[in-house]
């Protein structure tokens, strides 16, 4: 993608919510050379090449998604970096962290550079997460230092867990040395063989083998335990979905360990009871959990145990989803519905303050991966801005999605809160 616009852009008349800077009020923002140069009360800043009228709208630091699958290299029939980042922009995300479980696996400097190349035609910032082990085979660690220098922001074997104790310990130790977060897809795959949804009454009724909550919680417990023993280690738990796993994260945080976690919109919007008629748009991993897990997630989102909302955007072609539930691919798309679900489900229904929701999309994720210059709009920060109307009710239509794939359970849902403009480096990449 192009680096920041050389023109200056003044966003004026809007209501700025910048949790990291503790600002929640009317503010104008001037961006020049791709960076924020001034934030000031209304009408104080004058003279820009372009103006953006944000009256009646919320202005926030650009949203950061810590967990997306853009499917390149190798699976461009599902999604490309161009289509995936277009969908991201439509959802208000100015930065997306891409998962390395592509074909081939992103476990080398070359592939990290390939992902970041302008030839990929990304419209938002692509921040690659590299594989933690070579080929994500769970054996030998990758070269964290070189990957980091090439621009990777974290390591993970997402799609599968780092199962072996000594490999996970070694990853956390090396991560601590280079200050690199290790992102864990927490699933004890020994307990989830042939399983396609959460283990519970619904799975039993449907005759589907269920993934027990313990399959997630056991791994998180082990990882938090390891992280507590390794000074300066950084553990990030991807798409956390169970009450018991959240307890472990809380334990780690209380012990001042750098353990962070993310929650997906579908895990705060749906439960396993929503899996009906073998509709594989409700099939993802981790699976939709029980109502009591959802309650625990809501508490954790409000009380700070959860650091970020991440979509786990996982596009699949229709022929990979419209089939036997047990054989269908795991995953749903999520970039364009995240904000609308967060405001509808968290703010309107559960009265979580809008400032906290913005934090979960901005300062929270920036902290998880130490993304310097992002997650806030202080002077000198990147000119990445998300402008949205928090009251706008709208109906999401999957056919109109900018993603190449339409595998979402939220087709036809009425959502609240719509992105009006997405600005990356001072350039409007979505909106008027």
């Amino acid at each position: 993608m192009k680096t920041g616009s050389t023109n200056s852009l003044l966003i004026k008349g809007g209501h700025l919510i910048d949790p990291a800077a503790k600002i929640d009020g009317p503010m104008d923002i001037l961006i020049e050379g791709g960076r924020v140069v001034e934030v000031a009360p209304p009408k104080k800043i004058k003279g820009a090449d372009e103006n953006f009228d944000a009256r009646g709208l919320i202005v926030a630091p650009g949203f950061i998604d810590l967990h997306v699958h853009l499917r390149e290299p190798g699976q461009s029939y599902k999604e490309t970096i161009a289509t995936g980042t277009a969908a991201a922009a439509a959802g208000g995300f100015t930065s997306v962290c891409t998962m390395p479980n592509t074909d081939p696996i992103v476990d080398s400097v070359e592939w990290v550079q390939w992902l970041r190349s302008p030839e990929r035609s990304a419209v938002v910032n692509v921040l690659p997460i590299a594989a933690a082990t070579r080929g994500s085979k769970g054996g030998n660690l990758t070269d964290f230092r070189s990957l980091q220098r090439a621009g990777a922001v974290a390591v993970t074997d997402d799609g599968k867990p780092i199962l072996e104790d000594d490999i996970m310990r070694a990853a956390l130790v090396l991560g601590a040395e280079v200050n690199f977060p290790v992102v864990q897809h927490a699933e004890d795959t020994r307990l989830t063989e042939n399983c396609s949804m959460h283990a519970g009454a619904r799975a039993f009724r449907l005759g589907l083998r269920g993934m027990p909550a313990a399959a997630e919680a056991n791994i998180v417990e082990r990882d938090v335990h390891l992280a507590m023993q390794i000074p300066n280690s950084r553990l990030h738990v991807a798409h956390i979905s169970t009450a018991d796993a959240l307890k472990e994260v809380r334990r780690g945080k209380r012990a001042k360990t750098r353990v962070t976690c993310e929650v997906t919109p579908h895990h705060f919007a749906l439960t396993d009871d929503d899996v009906r008629d073998y509709d594989s748009r409700y099939k993802m991993n981790p699976p939709l959990r029980s109502a009591s897990d959802l309650e625990a997630i809501l508490v954790a989102l409000a009380d700070g145990t959860v650091d970020a909302i991440a979509t786990d955007h996982a596009p699949h072609a229709s022929h990979e989803k419209e089939m036997e539930f047990e054989r269908a691919s795991f995953g749903i798309t999520g970039l364009e519905t995240a904000l609308g679900l967060a405001i509808a489900k968290l703010s309107k229904e559960k009265h979580i303050p809008l400032g906290r929701i913005v934090e979960l999309f901005t300062a929270g994720p920036a902290r998880c991966f130490d993304l310097r210059g992002r997650g806030s709009l202080g002077r000198g920060y990147y000119g990445d801005v998300t402008i949205f109307d928090p009251k706008k009710r709208w109906t999401f239509e999957a056919v109109k999605s900018l993603s190449k794939s339409k595998n979402t359970p939220f087709d036809g849902w009425q959502l609240t809160g719509k992105v009006v403009a997405t600005i990356v480096g001072g350039r409007v990449v979505y909106g008027h």
Partner: protein, 303 residues
């Protein structure tokens, strides 16, 4: 798209009145007195999984109604070459299928088929989920022996977790107020099984299951579906095998049922299988008229 009229995907969402209608119509069906209700119709039997009695029973039923039957088995067909479930469905429809009878190792496969292919779909067993024609023929068999469902208690003993027969039976019996007791070790009969339908409970003790029971339904331990689960067979036999002595713990006029195939010496003794209270072969016999009714219903001729 919703399933075509006449489809039978499961018992769970079938109304009690509809079940009674099928059972009543089945009483008028007799394979030895063919009726041309499906004359000229094509019934495609799509079997992704091995089956003896269900397949032949549907085939005999279809033929007794005057239909042509085509059997497609996973092995030796395009399915083996990687054709998807839906593409097979579209192909079968293009060949002029009037009814698709499907047996599949994945739960919900008939539902997916019915969602996309505009032909009545009959579920002949899908994974661990349901086996509605078996539940209907079992209900038919119970009513031939017990006249009414009222006040009945049915014990289902064995591998409930892996059993589509048990799930369908629980749904059906519960709709008629029958008390259902599920019995077996925790690995095979999880507590959550009691949430299947109202009036269903779980016990670990066979004496508890048999006391006051009118119908004893036995299930096979499905070794092919255990998926790594370890079952101690001698232990299972010691606690749950149906022996002549144990049958005595049930009501005096209790009947013993089993969907088959039976494994003598495992879930039951030969003595029980061949005993006076066994109705295992009656179930097989009753399968034909019940499936005739199901097929007639599929083409709108159950009147």
């Amino acid at each position: 798209m919703s399933a075509a009229r006449g489809s039978l995907l499961g018992i769970e969402h079938l109304e009690a009145a509809e079940i009674l209608k099928i059972l009543k119509f089945a009483r008028r069906m007799n394979p030895d007195k063919p009726r041309p209700l499906l004359k000229g119709k094509r019934v495609v039997l799509l079997f992704y999984e091995a089956s003896t009695r269900t397949r032949s029973s549907f085939e005999i039923a279809a033929k007794a109604l005057g239909a042509h039957t085509v059997l497609i088995q996973a092995s030796g067909s395009s399915i083996e070459k990687g054709e998807s479930l839906l593409d097979t469905g579209y192909t079968v429809r293009a060949l002029g299928a009037d009814v698709i009878v499907i047996r599949h190792p994945n739960a919900g496969a008939p539902h997916v088929m019915a969602q996309y292919v505009d032909v009545p779909v009959i579920n002949a067993g899908d994974g661990l989920h349901e086996h509605p024609s078996q539940a209907l023929l079992d209900a038919y068999t119970i009513l031939r022996n017990k006249k009414t469902f009222k006040g009945l208690q049915v014990a289902i003993i064995g591998d409930i977790f892996h059993s589509r027969v048990a799930r369908s039976a629980c749904h059906l019996l519960s709709k008629f107020g029958v008390k259902v007791i599920l019995c077996g070790p925790p690995e095979l009969v999880p507590e959550i099984a009691a949430t299947l339908a109202p009036g269903v409970r779980v016990t670990r003790h066979i004496e508890d299951a048999l006391r006051g029971t009118n119908v004893v339904m036995l299930l096979r331990v499905q070794k092919e579906r255990l998926s790594g689960m370890k079952i101690n067979l001698p232990d299972y036999i010691a606690h749950y095998q149906m022996t002549a002595a144990r049958v005595k713990a049930a009501k005096k006029d209790a009947i013993v049922m089993h969907p088959g195939p039976i494994i003598r010496g495992l879930e039951l003794t030969g003595e029980v299988a061949d005993g006076a209270q066994a109705r295992i072969l009656d179930e097989v016999r009753n399968g034909v008229p019940v499936r005739m009714a199901i097929l007639a219903r599929a083409v709108g001729r159950m009147r």
